[in-house]
C-alpha cells in the first residue's frame, strides 16, 4: 500500500506539471523548469523501483559482488546526485563524516540505493511536517562500537524512533501510513531502505550525528582493507 502511494507521487508530480503546461502558453524558461522538475520526479520514482529491485535480489547475498568502499566518497556522490531534487524542496544537503573512517566491504549499488531513497524520502517528509523557508539534511557517517561504521541520514524529521520503526515493520503491507508522522509518499522509501539495510548489514536505527537526529545503518568496517 505505501509503496504504491510512493510510486504514485512522482507520477502525479509529472502529470500535474504537464497539465499546468497545457493550461497556458508559458515562456520557454518556465516550460524548461517544469520539464526539469518532471525529470527529477521520474528519477525519484526510478530510484524507488531500483531500491525495491535490489531488495528482491538481496536474498542471494553470496552472489552479490562486494567491493571496498570509502563511505565519505559515497555520501558525497549521493549528495551531489540529490542536490537538484533537494532544491525543489528548499533543502540543502550537507555531508559530514568523521575523519579517517576505515573502508567497508559492501555491495555498493545496494548501499548507495538505500541511502539515496532514504534521503529523498526524508527530504519530502521534513517539508511536509514543518513549514519553514529552508531545510537541511545531513548525510553522515561515524565510527560506532564493534568495529563498525554508522552511516545514515539526519534531519529534523519528527517521529522516527526505534519504537515507531518496529511498529512500522509489523504494519508493512497492511497500513496506509505505517509511519504515522511521515506522509504517504515518503514512508515506503524509509521502509524499503530499512529492509535493504537489514538484508545486507543491519536494519535502520534511530541515531544522532552532531546532535541531529536521524536514521542510520551499521556497516562492519574492514581492518584488512584499512592496511591495503
Amino acid at each position: 500500500m505505501t509503496l504504491s502511494d510512493d510510486l504514485a507521487l512522482p507520477l502525479l508530480q509529472v502529470k500535474s506539471s504537464i497539465e499546468l503546461l497545457q493550461a497556458k502558453d508559458f515562456a520557454k524558461q518556465v516550460a524548461r523548469r517544469h520539464a526539469q522538475e518532471s525529470a527529477l520526479s521520474i528519477d525519484s520514482g526510478l530510484q524507488q523501483i531500483e531500491a525495491y529491485r535490489l531488495l528482491l535480489g538481496s536474498t542471494e547475498l553470496d552472489k552479490l559482488p562486494m567491493e571496498p568502499l570509502a563511505i565519505s566518497a559515497l555520501l558525497e556522490e549521493i549528495a551531489h546526485k540529490l542536490t537538484p531534487y533537494a532544491k525543489q524542496y528548499d533543502t540543502e544537503i550537507e555531508v559530514s563524516t568523521q575523519h579517517r573512517l576505515a573502508p567497508v566491504l559492501v555491495h555498493q549499488p545496494s548501499l548507495s540505493s538505500a541511502l539515496e531513497v532514504l534521503s529523498s524520502s526524508l527530504i519530502r517528509a521534513q517539508v511536509a511536517q514543518t513549514e519553514a523557508k529552508s531545510y537541511q539534511i545531513v548525510l553522515g557517517a561515524h565510527s560506532s562500537p564493534g568495529n563498525a561504521i554508522a552511516a545514515g541520514v539526519f534531519s529534523n524529521v519528527q517521529g522516527l524512533s526505534d519504537r515507531t520503526l518496529r511498529a512500522a515493520r509489523s504494519l508493512v503491507g497492511r497500513a496506509r501510513q505505517p509511519l504515522p508522522a511521515v506522509p504517504a509518499g515518503a514512508a515506503a522509501g524509509v521502509l524499503v531502505a530499512d529492509m535493504l539495510c537489514a538484508a545486507l548489514w543491519q536494519p535502520l536505527r534511530a541515531a544522532a550525528h552532531n546532535n541531529l537526529p536521524g536514521l542510520a545503518t551499521s556497516i562492519p568496517s574492514s581492518k584488512q582493507l584499512k592496511f591495503v
Binding site: S4, D5, A8, L9, L12, Q13, K15, S16, S17, E19, L20, A23, K24, E37, S41, Q88, Y89, D90, R124, A125, V127, A128, Q129, T130, E131, Q158, G159, R176, Q177, P180, A181, V182, P183, A184, G185
Partner: protein
C-alpha cells in the same frame, strides 16, 4: 477573486496546483500542516478549502473536526482529496456527511475537474 486554501503534503504538487488555479483567477494559499492551515483559515478567510486526507502526523479528518468546531467555519466548502478506494470511501461516507464535506476527488483528478468543482461550489455567489 475567490480564495482557496490548499492543504497538501507534497510541495511540488501543491505549487503546480497553485499555479494552475492562479491562472484561473483564484488566489491560493498553501499549507502542509494542520496548525498553520487553521491559522491561515482565520487570517485569510478562504472561500473553499482543498484538503489532502492523509497528512503527516495528523489526518485531514482531524483538521475537519477542528475546523468545524468553530461556528464561523461550519459552512465553508471543503473538497477532500486522496488515494482512497471505493470501499474505504464508503467508510468515510458518514464522517464526510457529518463534517459537511462538499466533494471527494481522487488525487489524480485533472486540474480542470478540480477547478470546475470549485466553481460549482462557489456559484452563484462568487463566480
Amino acid at each position: 477573486m475567490p480564495r482557496v486554501l490548499l492543504i497538501e503534503t507534497d510541495r511540488q504538487l501543491a505549487k503546480n496546483l497553485q499555479s494552475y488555479l492562479e491562472l484561473n483567477d483564484f488566489i491560493v494559499d498553501i499549507h502542509s500542516d494542520i496548525q498553520n492551515a487553521i491559522m491561515s483559515t482565520d487570517t485569510q478567510c478562504p472561500d473553499v478549502i482543498i484538503l489532502d486526507l492523509i497528512l503527516a502526523g495528523r489526518s485531514g479528518i482531524e483538521f475537519l473536526y477542528e475546523l468545524r468546531s468553530y461556528p464561523e467555519w461550519q459552512s465553508v466548502p471543503v473538497i477532500a482529496t486522496g488515494h482512497i478506494s471505493q470501499d474505504e470511501l464508503s467508510h468515510y461516507g458518514s464522517a464526510f456527511e457529518q463534517l459537511n464535506v462538499s466533494a471527494y476527488l481522487p488525487k489524480h483528478s485533472a486540474f480542470d475537474r478540480l477547478a470546475g468543482e470549485i466553481r460549482k461550489l462557489l456559484q452563484p455567489a462568487k463566480v
